[in-house]
């Protein structure tokens, strides 16, 4: 039912972006998630970010694993190719896709189970390699699709709907991503669109492995009192370390940012992000301070959100490998096959 394409006629009054696309051109099939699921809010934020950045929809490739969160690529960017791969393995599939065609924009969507439980290894190694992508984890602390068992990001002591405690140490994907060499690392909250949209935009502008851990309450299985991933809990405990404005190439940079507390960073594609510090001790350009910020928040029982770490100098995988500027999937046999002459020489060398 929910897969009927929606009428695509443009109401004249609908706002259009630089490419002449309307917001609706970035939408996808109707969601089949639970009403109120945090994931739907994140999809909306992604759609909004892509619209505002005027990304050509068909140049985006959206990949995911398995889970409620991993279903969401179906509910956005209807004009983009999508790949709902297997559980926990999106990072390797995305890496391969990226190697085949470096010119597309890669969006990886995953869940906390998909990434922190079964997929931890692939997540870590994709970050290490600096795969050029936006990797979003829709983090609800549970396996939603299998009815709410705790995932590896569930905080120790957090209560399940049935009252059981999460027993193991939680995995903080943000600090792990920084430790692994990811060059853009952020955390946000599905309930805070004002913070989330700019972060997603900045992530798209970034070259390299951009990771965003978005806390996204599971209204059906993990939104009760006692859960540290409920809307109420996250609203109360999240502390933004900075605020972000993304100024794409064309627009002039506003000047009225107070000195010191704000910082403009030029992204590789010419656009600029302006960071307003909210936590004086935090500096997202300094890995040690970024990690320290996370430790501080952890000890204070708070959730640090915002752009936690950024390294615009980092090399992405293709630079590391020295691959051709042209997408590999465009090379013809003439270019790829050494041909019979070369083969004769090889034969000769084997006698």
């Amino acid at each position: 039912m929910s897969y009927l394409a929606k009428p695509k006629f443009h109401h004249p009054s609908l706002p259009v972006n630089a490419l002449g696309f309307t917001h609706r051109d970035y939408e996808g099939a109707m969601s089949t998630l639970c009403a109120g699921c945090g994931h739907d809010a994140i999809s909306a934020a992604i759609i909004h970010a892509c619209f505002e950045l005027s990304l050509p929809p068909h140049r985006v490739a959206k990949l995911s694993g398995i889970g409620c969160s991993s279903k969401t690529p179906t509910y956005m960017l209807g004009q983009s190719h999508g790949f709902n791969s297997v559980h926990g393995r999106m990072p390797s599939v995305l890496t391969g896709a990226n190697l085949a065609n470096r010119d597309l924009i890669y969006l990886g969507v995953s869940g906390d189970g998909d990434t922190a439980s079964i997929g931890l290894g692939q997540f870590a190694h994709a970050m290490r390699r600096g795969v050029n992508m936006v990797y979003i984890v829709e983090n609800n602390g549970v396996y939603g699709l299998t009815k709410g068992q705790f995932s590896a990001t569930a905080d120790r002591g957090s209560k399940s709907k049935k009252g059981a405690d999460a027993q193991s140490q939680p995995i903080d994907l943000v600090s792990m991503a920084i430790g692994l060499g990811a060059s853009f690392v952020a955390r946000s909250f599905s309930g805070d669109k004002a913070q989330l949209v700019p972060l997603i935009k900045a992530a798209f502008e970034h070259k390299g492995a951009a990771f965003i851990d978005v806390i996204s309450p599971c209204v059906t299985f993990n939104n009760h009192a006692g859960s540290t991933k409920s809307f109420d809990y996250v609203r109360e405990h999240n502390i933004a370390v900075n605020a972000l404005d993304v100024i794409t190439g064309r627009e002039p940079i506003e000047v009225d940012y107070a000195e010191g507390v704000s910082q403009a960073v030029m992204m590789h594609d010419g656009s600029t992000i302006v960071l307003r510090k909210l936590d004086a001790d935090h500096n997202c350009r300094d890995r040690s301070l970024a990690l320290a910020t996370l430790e501080r928040a952890r000890l204070a029982g708070e959730i640090a959100t915002g752009l936690i770490y950024l390294d615009e100098e980092a090399e992405e995988l293709h630079e590391v490998l020295g691959t051709a500027a042209r997408p590999l999937n465009e090379f013809s046999e003439r270019e790829l096959c050494p041909g019979s002459k070369a083969l004769d020489a090889i034969n000769a060398s084997l006698r």
Binding site: V93, T95, A100, G322, L328, P338
Partner: protein, 611 residues
Amino acid sequence: MPISAVNDFVIRFANVNGSGSASANLLFARSILRMGVPIAPRNIFPSNIQGLPTWYEVRVSEEGWLGARGGADVLVAMNPQTFVQDVAALEPGGYLFYDSTRPVGQLLTRDDIVVLGLPLTAICAAQYDDPRQRQLYKNIVYVGALAALLDIELPVIETLIGERFKGKDKLIAANLRALKIGYDEAKSRFQCPLGVRLRRSDAVGDRILVEGNFAAGLGAVYGGATVCAWYPITPSTSLAEAFERNCARYRVDKATGEKNYAIVQAEDEIAAIGVAVGAGWNGARAFTATSGPGISLMQEFFGLAYFAEIPVVVFDVQRGGPSTGMPTRTQQSDLISCAFASHGDTKHVLLIPDGPNEAFEFAARAFDLAERLQTVVFVMLDLDIGMNSHLCAPFQWDDAQVYDRGKVLSSEALEKALNFGRYDDVDGDGIPYRTLPGSHPTRGAYFTRGTSRDRFARYTEEGLPYIDNMERLEHKFETARSLLPRPALKRAAEPTGIGVLHYGSTAASMDEAQKMLADEGIHIDAMRIRAFPMTREVQEFIASHDRIFVVEQNRDAQMRTLISTDLGVATDRWIPVLHFNGMPTSARYIHREIATRLREPAAPQKLEAAE
């Protein structure tokens, strides 16, 4: 009575892993080749880096029988640790060449062999003071001695040394000197040549000596592979390395230094196949190379590639299983794991080369098949093919041929395509059309998934579209039959009801066994299967023979399972000839098994027999 044979014997070197003997042994082998005499060298090495026993065996056969023969006529015993067992394995009348610096006295119990002791250690100690050099040149010294004993033309060896160390004149001189030392010592002490020896010939022709892994890696380059993701595992590692070496040579833009390929050494096999699948989905020719344990780990992705219909090539260089098994031994025991890989109803295409030449051909062809069929294609090598050098026909490539990229809709085509359905069987061959990400602004985008979907790639849990899709996949598999390499049939000189089915690296030994049997008046037709699913020829062959042997290098006669599943034929009266101790099967073994079984009455139909 000492063996006397010209250009037809087996010589075995017993060495210690990591002692540098490998290059000397190769030098020895290639010198014979340069004399125009066919050889089949084989390494037997441990799963270890240094210090354990290794053997190097060279079969010399002017007639060109290049399968393993078994036994040894000449033994070069350089490893005291295995001295006794090595000597015991020498053929009666065989020749034992050993380092007599330390006396072996009571270890030498056999009186039916010719013993040739040369105090190699002592000689080298006298000639070199650097212990490292003593060790290294000792190997060249024995090559020199063997040249004298077996009548190898010194100039040939000298040329090879010159080619090998081209430019490094010091090294050349040093090696030539060591060679000469050994040669003279042997001449002066023994009556040269031995009864077993060489004579220049022209039996090699234009054949090349090459490892199957090199051939397959090169084939992938010729086949247009641009993305390779792999995780090291014996015996497949050298395949990926060969791809890398050849890419570095032929795929780097002279001007810019840019690479027209990408190789990722993944963190494990699951990631390796994941990367390959992602690249295949996105329109690059991609592959991974692995062995048994990797095949087990990749199962889930094989199922995804089958069901989501993604082209990808997998090289399985089989080794001794199950589990970690015998990492440095050969077997053909992954057939079932590959042909029916992953849960649910799945079937996969296998290509089964018999050696380097076909490994090159099938490797390149695999990428055409994978894209044509939009599925996983397995190329089944084994350790013997992959890591041993084989004398085979030179590689060939027709510059006129173009890659078959399969059914991919270009943006132009999409402009015309009215209502594109990713899983729509437009042509009635079970193969749908696909589109590549980014190719058209408004048309052809679809969602790839491992869940059931309808012809338009929309998720559904309904029974009819599911069945429709599964039956199309089945139909596609039928289409595959017609595209696969046909089996190779070697008919007996006379009409016979006895048929032998075999495949892969068994070929060389099987050919020889067929000849041996024919010489005894036992005529058999031999069919070499080169692919799964079976082509009609296989069924006809089975139908037209009343006595069927399957010759395999595994315990469970896995090819028999593939055949009975695919064709439904009865196999309970078939006679499996199974060689699975990790060494390549031999003509002697196949001959003995078939000959004796033919003397017995047909096996009665009982449970045991059915095993």
